[in-house]
Symmetry: C2
Subunit: 465 residues, 2 copies
């Protein structure tokens, strides 16, 4: 069946190419010539940078369930239509609705002095309430250390996970992955021993004073108690750690008024260019429309959104009609729930939509380095064979295995997935902070990403059978 | 002779390796293990970032002949000694001494209104004097256009080279290379037709209001007349171009008090680690110590300087004794004369110093992408064979042909040269502007460069015969 489908598609493509040849009486452009036109278009006429300015500067942070997220949905619909999509539609999903409330506060109390620290509540955390809480602090470097201390030393205390980002790692994402477990699971792990709150050192690749938020989860299998969870800036974590060395009974006073409201309805935004030969087969590229509330969501993931829309714009403006239906998907709720990702995948399954490949851009709008590609259905090898086409554009790496959070439910259905891999050295300096703002975007870097993604979508469309 | 030398070195290396084995009774570390230790050292303990903070923040811009350049010489000597160099010495050279004088001014005069424009004098340019000059402006897009207009239209006017940086180029250096000819040669080309001054649109990869300086030359073969030369910021060039469309007789009033003083003595700074097996054979890495006066010379080329010093520090702190003598060279006067580069090469020639390879870092302190390597003596192929060793560190490109301005006189003597190639997408946003400051440096990116360069110097030292 699968082989017959391929044969059918091969014949269809040959006929299309022949007809194209007869009609235009000229040789169709080579892949490398099309790629050159894609790069020239994106670098000199692409709208991604100005679109991102609008998204970040007129809407800003847009956490799921917020008014800003709602505004972003309508912005995305309008922007996809302007980019030349044949069809744009909203796909309903349910999302968590967490609100930060008032700006969080942390005071370090020791030896009759009070030092304010830079702190932020973690997403999904319960609040302390306006009166806050105050307790001694126990510093740990690992869950093993926490376990050893046990209830005897943890009961009634605030647990401080003082775990550093491993600067010796070359992939910053790998260092982040190691450290983030304390953000995600730290509160429940501490709660089981009677802690009253948990605080992590921000997962930061630089040593500044910006606290990094991000989602946490309450693991009821570990503890039924839900305690407030926070992140300290790198500098504030240094101050706390230094103080604890000299004043082991130093206390923290923490105040947060964040709260979890009822789930609320929201939307993915999907823009399509209908396929000329295989309209019922899909190639998708996407990013996530939601962002944390404390910054502007410029790199995370406004960049991925405008790069995905740029793919539609690039095909349309260059007059390239895709063979397969091409979708740009602005997923809702990557940051704290994947509500949009699940809705998209469930919908695709119900409608028996055949997805040939799915690409995600959610690692920042920095200079492209390559793509991570699933080995499923031989896609990795296929893309790897295109490396010489990408070399002139400084896309030098095709790594095995890739994807992203928003396309992971599709991956589970067997869809081969691709993750766009920009340079990540600066990403975790600003990730989930108030500093993830438009001015951190370099126009050429963003547009090179848009071009690289469009070029890959083009090759997939023309060669994937 | 050359073959015998190689055989001799091969035998020496084998004996050294055997002795090393007997002494330590352990297997010497593999290249990949040494590289891992180099990266870990540089990323977690390397001093390059803090050294650069000192150079940029306590000395700042350091144009050849200035007091700041002199201070930089003594800073470099001290810093190389602290890094663990066996020997540090100053190598005398002569350098031009150009002074900017007072901040330049440009006023656009049209229809009874006056608009101030952002302007900067080009290095080596004569000044207008404090009274300035005023003339109508003729815009051209090429030298061909200038030639067509000829004296009839150019006499007594200011020529405005309104040439854009080609954003469709992937290598920003290629776009810069195309545009920079108007900065370098534009004044003499305009002077031959009687122009009173020349103004270029800054060679900028972004559209901001920072004027980019840089050196110019008076080509006496083209014109004996030396007219003042300036660069306008991108935005100011836009304003001028737009005005000229509506008001063809608009005038510019230009004021600069820059001047060329007598050549002055200065120094290269050279730090050495003596080779254990071949002390009279040299491997060098370097950057340039001088910078333009308007910024802090952080990316251009403080980065290259501290990365070169980091090579000494890394060898020393990791206890790796080089087989060949390793030199970090802080060249003086790259920006406007190559006085230091010529002195180094002449000295090497006089002393019959055998240089196995020379590496230069002068393309900014951004994320490493690769190296450009001369094909001379098969070096390109040798380095290319090491690509698998570099892949885990995201150094993905070994391109044929490389080097840099400061090692070009060595290249002419047949020394195989290597250019360090970081990502360059942001470089020409700030190049030669007041915005080339320390805050534009990302610590991890800078240190990854230091590590990559040290790793390559290590491989060259161990394998180059």
């Amino acid at each position: 069946m699968y082989k017959n489908l391929k044969l059918y598609k091969l014949i269809t493509c040959c006929i299309a190419a022949l007809l194209h040849g007869f009609t235009l009486a000229q040789t169709p452009l080579s892949d490398s010539a099309v790629m050159r036109s894609i790069y020239t278009f994106q670098l000199t006429q692409g709208s991604a940078y100005e679109q991102l300015r609008t998204l970040t500067k007129t809407i800003g942070g847009r956490l799921s369930g917020s008014k800003q997220a709602e505004a972003a949905v309508y912005w995305a619909k309008k922007t996809m239509l302007e980019a030349g999509a044949d069809t744009v539609y909203l796909q309903a999903c349910m999302v968590p609705h967490w609100e930060r409330g008032q700006k969080e506060r942390a005071l370090l109390l020791h030896s009759k002095t009070t030092t304010p620290l830079k702190v932020i509540a973690l997403g999904s955390s319960v609040g302390t309430g306006p009166d806050g809480l105050e307790a001694e602090v126990v510093e740990v470097k690992s869950f093993e250390e926490l376990e050893k201390l046990g209830s005897t030393h943890i009961q009634g205390k605030i647990v401080f996970y003082n775990v550093f980002f491993d600067q010796s790692k070359i992939r910053t994402g790998a260092a982040y992955g190691e450290a983030v477990v304390f953000r995600s699971k730290g509160a429940s792990m501490a709660a089981q021993y009677g802690a009253v709150a948990s605080v992590v050192r921000s997962m930061a690749s630089n040593a500044d004073d910006e606290p990094h938020t991000g989602n946490m989860n309450y693991y009821t299998s570990i503890s039924e108690r839900k305690i407030p969870a926070f992140a300290l800036s790198y500098t504030s974590a240094d101050i706390l750690a230094k103080t604890l060395k000299h004043v082991p009974h130093a206390k923290l006073r923490l105040v947060s008024t964040c709260r979890n409201l009822a789930e609320s309805p929201s939307f993915n935004v999907i823009g399509e260019l209908k396929g000329s030969l295989f309209p019922n087969q899909y190639l998708i590229c996407g990013g996530h429309l939601d962002s944390w509330d404390n910054g502007e969501g410029a790199h995370d993931d406004g960049a991925g959104i405008v790069q995905s829309i740029a793919v539609l714009e690039g095909f349309k403006k260059l007059g390239i009609r895709p063979y397969h239906t091409l979708r740009a998907v602005a997923f809702m709720n990557e940051e704290n729930g994947l509500g949009g990702a699940l809705a998209y995948a469930n919908n695709a399954k119900q409608k028996h939509e055949l997805h040939l490949a799915a690409l995600e851009s959610d690692a920042g709008g920095f200079t492209p380095r390559g793509f991570g590609v699933d080995t499923t259905k031989g896609l990795y090898q296929t893309v790897k064979n295109w490396m010489p086409l990408f070399k002139p554009y400084f896309i030098d790496r095709i790594d095995a295995g890739g994807g992203g959070a928003d396309i992971s439910p599709l991956e589970e259905q067997g869809v081969p997935c691709i993750g766009f891999e920009p340079d990540t050295q600066r990403y975790f300096d600003i990730h989930h902070t108030a500093a993830d703002t438009f001015d951190k975007i370099n126009k050429r870097e963003l547009l090179l990403g848009a071009a690289g993604i469009q070029a890959l979508m083009y090759l997939l469309d023309r060669h994937l059978l």
